[in-house]
């Protein structure tokens, strides 16, 4: 048997060979989430857009798709905020500074920041959906003057589960209105209680010049989209990021399919109007 290791045909590389990255910092975010700063050994991995993801692998455990949470073009490192939910992510939580992770990507589509310029933008995040949203918020705040009114509506189950709350003041200082809501308030909580849709009516929408971005758990989209329709935001002006199971990242393994499209290639960022013929999407 002829066996070639690391030796591929002219110009062809195995799409499954990962690139190593070194963990520079691990920060506990909540009980379930950790923030990893990772320096990839190949700087081409730092060329990502907001909304893209990596396949993050640990030999012996496998790979999982993880959204990028840092802003694009920020540093020699990128950040991943990981919830311990499965095999790979639980193993990731045991890693510390100096450990290796193995990366493929970045994969998928990005949020069209340029299209949002000079418009008002409403960012609507539920739960862990704020993780990729943070990358977009950072990209937009980097050039705050280029955008109109900016609002973040962020809902989480409880105050303890709210991610990145220590950054909200900085975001507010840069001109982002931050509206928070909680499903189960504790005694200290003085803010809004209820699902994210309870806050949407409070946002002023200038018809035709407002863009909405929605990222959250599967159950959230339909309700939020109905509320946005009430606000007369057109489906062409709504962007969503959709989660699916993924194994390959290169449009082959079939797990991420929504009807005929592959979320790893055609998504995860979709324009709402492009989903009208994909009944499996929302």
């Amino acid at each position: 048997m002829s066996l070639s290791v690391n030796q591929t045909k002219e110009g062809l590389e195995s799409p499954y060979l990962p690139i190593p990255g070194v963990i520079e910092r691990v920060t506990r975010v909540t009980e379930k989430e950790r923030l990893f700063s990772i320096a990839p050994l190949n700087p081409s991995l730092l060329e990502y857009g907001p909304g893209q993801f990596y396949m993050v692998g640990l030999p012996g455990y496998g790979e999982a798709p993880i959204s990028i949470t840092s802003g694009p073009g920020e540093a020699k490192e990128f950040e991943l905020c990981v919830r311990a939910a499965g095999n790979v992510t639980n193993a990731l939580h045991r890693l510390k500074k100096g450990d290796f992770v193995w990366l493929r990507g970045p994969f998928g589509t990005s949020f069209p920041v340029d299209e949002m310029r000079s418009k008002d933008v409403v960012f609507i995040a539920g739960g862990i959906g704020v993780v990729p949203m943070r990358s977009l918020i950072k990209a937009v705040l980097k050039d705050r003057q280029g955008f109109g009114r900016l609002t973040l509506i962020y809902g989480s189950k409880s105050p303890e589960e709210m991610l990145f709350s220590e950054e909200f003041d900085e975001w507010r200082g840069k001109g982002l209105e931050v509206l928070l809501t909680i499903d189960k308030p504790d005694t200290k909580w003085t803010g809004n209680v209820g699902v994210v849709t309870t806050l949407i009516p409070k946002v002023e929408v200038a018809e035709g010049r407002t863009i909405a971005v929605v990222i959250g758990p599967p159950v959230m989209y339909r309700f939020v989209i109905l509320s946005l329709r009430d606000k007369l935001i057109r489906p062409e002006d709504v962007f969503v990021s959709l989660e699916r199971r993924m194994k390959c990242g290169v449009g082959k393994c079939g797990h991420c399919q929504i009807n005929g499209c592959y979320v790893c290639q055609d998504g995860p960022v979709f324009r709402l109007s492009d989903l009208k013929d994909l009944p499996e999407a929302l």
Binding site: M1, G60, G62, P217, G254
Partner: protein
């Protein structure tokens, strides 16, 4: 098989007995290739490795599993890693192989796989294996499940290296590649006589007239018919009886969904990342780590599989992704039949339009 008149004659029957042409062919191939071919196991035609020419037997009905197993193996290594040494290596394994006994549907299926694996980021594992593969086709007779005639995959003019047509006393041989021509030239076969070619054409006519299963619409209309069938009651009905066993995915020559898993050796440092067959009709196929299943019901999963065959991949690649081999219908434990299901959707569609 249109407008092809040049054949050579290979003597002998469907088994590679002593002094038969088939034995000569297999022995020639064994010198250069690992050879896989059709054999009978427990009464059923299957593919197996052929170490001796006498094991080979050609069948007129399809094998249980298709020949995709030799190009896209049920389990293959993609990477080898060593955790302590911080090492990952891509593994691309291929060897010269010859597969004997593929019917036209299976040859068409491989042509579809070629498109899929070359699309976007090329899959070097499949493509390097494919490049080293010699395909020897063999003709067939439809059983009650075969419906390739409805999908334009009944005949093949390319996609194989050598093709064997059965006649009463031996085979008529066609070649469609330089590799195939070289192998056949080495056998020094005589050209077929006009009477033998007439016999073959008669057999082809008989074959064409023998189909029992058929689709009640043209292949080109199927994507639109499926697009309009999302809410059809058919899905709930077959979903209610489907056992979610994944047999249809496994036996299908064009199903190529896979899972990727890590395996570790006992030293807990070295291991392999492997690709294994997966199936979209299995319960966990679209389930994410948080527990949400994006295709919870068997009805949704069956609808997805059927749409992949007749719409989703057709929209992407321009050809139906079902080749009409009938394997899924034959293998189904609860007799869900792909021709009958599609015909029901066709009739519903006709009613909607009327």
């Amino acid at each position: 098989m249109k407008n092809i008149d040049f054949f050579r004659y290979l003597p002998g029957g469907a088994k590679a007995e002593s002094a038969s042409g088939l034995k000569k062919l297999v022995n020639t191939l064994l010198k250069e290739y690992r050879v896989y071919g059709t054999v009978k196991r427990d009464g059923f035609p299957v593919y197996a490795e052929i170490a001796d020419a006498s094991e080979l037997e050609l069948f007129s009905t399809p094998t249980h599993l298709s020949a995709k197993q030799f190009l896209f193996p049920p389990r293959e290594t993609l990477l080898r890693y060593d955790i302590r040494r911080h090492l990952h290596e891509a593994v691309i394994e291929s060897e010269r192989q010859a597969i004997i006994g593929l019917h036209p549907c299976d040859i068409h299926a491989i042509a579809l796989m070629d498109e899929v694996w070359a699309f976007g980021r090329p899959d070097v594992n499949y493509l390097s294996r494919r490049e080293k593969t010699l395909i020897v086709g063999a003709d067939c007779m439809p059983d009650e499940y075969c419906f390739c005639k409805s999908l334009g995959t009944m005949d093949v003019n390319d996609g194989f290296d050598i093709f064997l047509h059965r006649i009463k006393k031996g085979f008529l041989v066609r070649t469609a590649s330089k590799k195939g021509e070289e192998v056949i030239a080495g056998l020094k076969l005589r050209e077929a006589k006009p009477s033998e070619v007439r016999e073959l054409k008669e057999r082809e006519r008989l074959r064409e007239a023998s189909f029992k299963a058929r689709l009640e619409a043209a292949a080109k209309d199927l994507p639109e018919i499926y697009a309009g069938s999302n809410e059809s009651p058919v899905w709930e009905r077959i979903g209610a009886i489907c056992t979610g066993c994944g047999s249809c995915n496994t036996v299908c020559p064009t199903c190529y969904c896979f899972d990727i898993k890590d395996e570790v050796k006992a030293n807990l440092s070295e291991g392999e990342r492997v690709r294994v067959w997966d199936g979209c009709t299995l319960e966990d196929f679209a389930k994410v780590a948080g527990g949400h299943n994006f295709r919870k019901t068997r009805a949704e999963r069956l609808r997805h599989r059927f749409n992949r065959k007749f719409r989703y991949l057709t929209d992407r690649f321009g050809m139906p992704f079902c080749v009409g081999c009938g394997r899924c219908s034959r293998a189904c434990l609860v007799k869900i039949n792909i021709t009958e299901v599609t015909n029901e959707l066709i009739r519903e569609s006709n009613k909607r339009r009327a």
